[in-house]
Symmetry: C2
Subunit: 80 residues, 2 copies
């Protein structure tokens, strides 16, 4: 089973990486960009066929390791 986790900074947390990308895009003349946020996408392949169990496992992975839940949010999508 393939599971996609997207981890990104919570709204209100300064996204310095996003600011840097935004600044760089302006410097190469992309003027129509109003905001940029940069996050992580983690693609997991699991030896698991039960979607409910997979969702529980990946939620625990996010809480324990993949996301810093103080400043980051995450989404989990089972892709099969």
């Amino acid at each position: 089973m393939k599971v996609v986790v997207n981890v990104f900074l919570k709204a209100g947390v300064l996204d310095s990486q996003g600011k840097a990308v935004h600044h760089a895009l302006k410097s190469i003349h992309f003027e129509n960009v109003s905001d940029v946020r940069v996050g992580k996408q983690i693609v997991l392949k699991l030896n698991e066929s039960d979607e409910k169990k997979a969702m529980e496992d990946v939620t625990r992975m996010c809480e324990d390791l993949l996301a810093n839940t103080v400043i980051e949010d995450y989404t989990i999508e089972i892709v099969k």
Copy 2:
């Protein structure tokens, strides 16, 4: 308009970040993970209403800045 860009290493390119996450997950007893790949997700807000123009602009942004097309692939999704 909101556009989501996912940038990830091409298949066959060593994903050291993915390997490190995989190793860390094993060390906290997640044994059912067979592979981990880590990429970037970039969320762009554009002052643009024409989807075709937005797609062209973001493709050029990827080619010029957001992705290292030698070792990375990217997908572009217009989310509205």
